[in-house]
Every structure is written in structure tokens, then in C-alpha cells.
Symmetry: C2
Subunit: 230 residues, 2 copies
């Protein structure tokens, strides 16, 4: 199966690497291929520059947002949340229509300093997941995985034997079913995948970020997750 990953930041390369290891054909999309390959600094989260990563992952295809989106049967949005809608417009509606788009991004606003807040226009009465769905009505948007560290997204057994939760939501049941299959490949157990309903539930999963950032500070690691108990 062909999967597109949009974004060359730490989240994008974690997805691309894991998907390649699992046997998928992967193409990464970026705004400007030459620029991405000439970058000499990481994305600020401690990872190497994209070019260093790509040097040892040459099996992954690389192209523009549009080329990569034309390639994949499923598209993963791993661009920065504040730039996601613009990136998806560059990807091109016709390259995305009728495809499942897994949105793992968060609309973080770093303009007011640290810790970031959420972009006000994508918070509380709206969300990035909804905004993408509204902008691309024929794309099957599934919000998923955005509530945790990226290495956990694709490898949940990293902590607590994999026993913690991932939230998904979206308007298309078949799209959600296909995302659940992918999540299982990553190592998620069915009982830990919580379907929260339609895409408006993105508000809830994105609004957990301010708590997530504080909990990270308190527990002293980003490698944690929420587990629902009852």
C-alpha cells in the first residue's frame, strides 16, 4: 500500500521510517525538495536535519506536497498545524479528493512564547481537523494520534506494554475503519482505540495539548500517554 507523509519535521520522519519498516511504499511531501535537503539544522525537537535522516532512508520517495499527495492512497498530515491548510492547498484538492487523510497535527501557536497556546481561530468552537474537513469536503479526514509523542504514535508498546489510548474521530466510518487497521499495524490494540465520533471531536483531542505540555513538565518525560480507566 502506498502512503504519503506530508511534512519533513520530526513527526513526518518518524511516520515515514516506521511505515517503511512495516513494508509500506512511502513518499514524503515537502514544500520545496531542494530546500528540505539543504537544511543543516533539525526542527528544534532534537532530531537531525532532514537531509541526514534522508541519507539513510533513500527507499522513501521524496517530492513536493502535490507529487507526494498524488502518489499515496492514504495521506498523513504531519505538517505544522498552523501551516497545514496552506500545505494541503499546495498538495492540491484533486490529489486528495476521496482519499483518507489522517491528520496528526496540532494547531499550536508559538507566537506568544512558551509554552504555546492554540491558534484562537482553531480552538474551542473550531479545530484544525474540522477546518481541514471544511476546506476539503471530499477528503475523508480522520483526526488521530495527535495527543502523544510521535514515537509513541507509531510504536505504542514503547510504554506500559502498549496499554494506553489513542483517540480517533471523523465523519466517514469506512475511513475510520481503515485508519484502525493502520493503527493495529503500528501495534495499537483494538480495545485501546477510542472512536469519539464525528470530526468535531477534534476540538477535544487538540485542546488536550496545554494539559499534555504541563504533564510532560511534571512527569519529566514526553514518553507518556493518557489511559482511560473506569
Amino acid at each position: 500500500m502506498k502512503i504519503t507523509v506530508l511534512g519533513t519535521g520530526s513527526v513526518g520522519v518518524v511516520f515515514a521510517g516506521r511505515l517503511m519498516d512495516l513494508g509500506y511504499e512511502v513518499m514524503i511531501g515537502t514544500r520545496n525538495v531542494t530546500e528540505s535537503l539543504s537544511r543543516t539544522t533539525g526542527d528544534g525537537y532534537g532530531g537531525p536535519p532532514f537531509s541526514s535522516w534522508y541519507d539513510v532512508h533513500k527507499q522513501v520517495k521524496l517530492g513536493t506536497f502535490a507529487e507526494a499527495s498524488a502518489f499515496g492512497e492514504v495521506v498523513i498530515n504531519a505538517t505544522r498545524g498552523g501551516a497545514s491548510v496552506a500545505a494541503l492547498k499546495l498538495a492540491g484538492e484533486s490529489n486528495l479528493n476521496n482519499k483518507v487523510l489522517i491528520d496528526v497535527a496540532n494547531p499550536l501557536d508559538f507566537s506568544k512564547g512558551m509554552p504555546p497556546v492554540l491558534l484562537p481561530e482553531l480552538c474551542n468552537t473550531n479545530s484544525l481537523g474540522e477546518e481541514i474537513q471544511r476546506t476539503f469536503p471530499r477528503v475523508k479526514v480522520v483526526k488521530a494520534l495527535n495527543t502523544m509523542l510521535c514515537s509513541l504514535m507509531v510504536n505504542p508498546v514503547m510504554i506500559n506494554g502498549g496499554d494506553h489510548n489513542v483517540f480517533i474521530c471523523g465523519n466517514d466510518s469506512d475511513a475510520k475503519a481503515s485508519v484502525i487497521e493502520l493503527l493495529k499495524h503500528f501495534g495499537w490494540e483494538m480495545q485501546n482505540i477510542l472512536d469519539l465520533g464525528d470530526i468535531t471531536a477534534s476540538r477535544g483531542t487538540e485542546m488536550i495539548l496545554p494539559l499534555w505540555l504541563r504533564v510532560m513538565g511534571t512527569v519529566g518525560t514526553a514518553a507518556f500517554n493518557f489511559r482511560i480507566v473506569k
Copy 2:
């Protein structure tokens, strides 16, 4: 020890009843005592009218917001989040100053229908906890317990053997230490009490509400909670 509970809704009576059972002297504060006692309907969350509850809890004192706030050494804000600052103004700054105020309320906005959103002026770049602290700078505000069903707040062993998390935050370390003692009386174990830092962390715990509401719908019960695993 004398504790004040502000609010006669389901959260208020759950706190008052539990505190009484634990041997505290409790006084409930309300806007209008006569009106609260003459109410014939519940608060919409399935509980009985306040007067029916009070008939069998006569040991709990009852007074105005101001009378009750003058009584307690610790004050618990269990009023509706959107009305909390106004209620605390009625309680009176001089009755609250230098006391620990535990804010368990959430600034839910039901004006746009169900499910509620958060009041925009108390979301993302502000929060109810912060707003109370800003309005009453000499009160020791500790935000706590607002991320779960009220019966769990005061009796965590109700689910999962008590093994799930409560978040606290506030600017005064001694105030947080005294709240931790109270939480232990309720049954919280020390390792499950996560101190998220200063009062601005209220943003995080209040912004979890939209997710909480969706998870409730998915798991089919309000008697659930978040547990951090790492």
C-alpha cells in the same frame, strides 16, 4: 476543621456530604437561602432538589455566599463556572483573603447548545482558575479535581482501585500542600496527585473538558478518569 462549599448543585452537595462524613464542619453557601430551599427541581444532572438533600443533611450549615465564606478555613468553589467570579464577589474579598480556595469549577458555555464549549474569554490564553486568582490576588487559589465526575473527586476508589490521576495547580506551595492533605482524606494516593505548577496550568485542566465529554459518550459512563502511564 471548618470547610465552606460554595454552590448547591450536584457538585456542591457531593462535597458537603463527603466532608461531613469525614468529620469536617461544613457550611454551604448559596446566593439566596430561601430560594435554594424552595427549589423543587434538581440541577439537571439527575440529583434531587437541594431541599430534599438538605432534609437529610441538617448537620451541614447553610448560609449566604458571604456567611459561608466567613465560616470556613478552606473554601471550595463548586458554583457554575460561568457564574463563579460573580458568586465569589458576593462571598466578599474580605471573607476569602488569605484562605485556600479550591476551584473545582469549569467555565462551560451552554449558550450554543450541547455539548457545551468553554467560555471564550476563559479559554486558551486564560482560564477560570487564573481569572479567580487575578480578581482575588490575596486568595490562595488551587485548581483541582475539575477533570472528573464529582463523585470520583471525593471518592476515587470508586473506580480502578483509586488508581487514576488528579491534577492540581496554584501559585502557593503551602496552599497546594494543604489541598493534597484533603485529597488524601478523600482517598487519593500521593503518587496519583500530579502538581502541574502555577495557576496558569488551569488552562490545561479546564481545556480537557471537551475531550472528557466525548470520551463519556464513547465509554458510556461518566465514572471514568484519565490515568497517566509512562
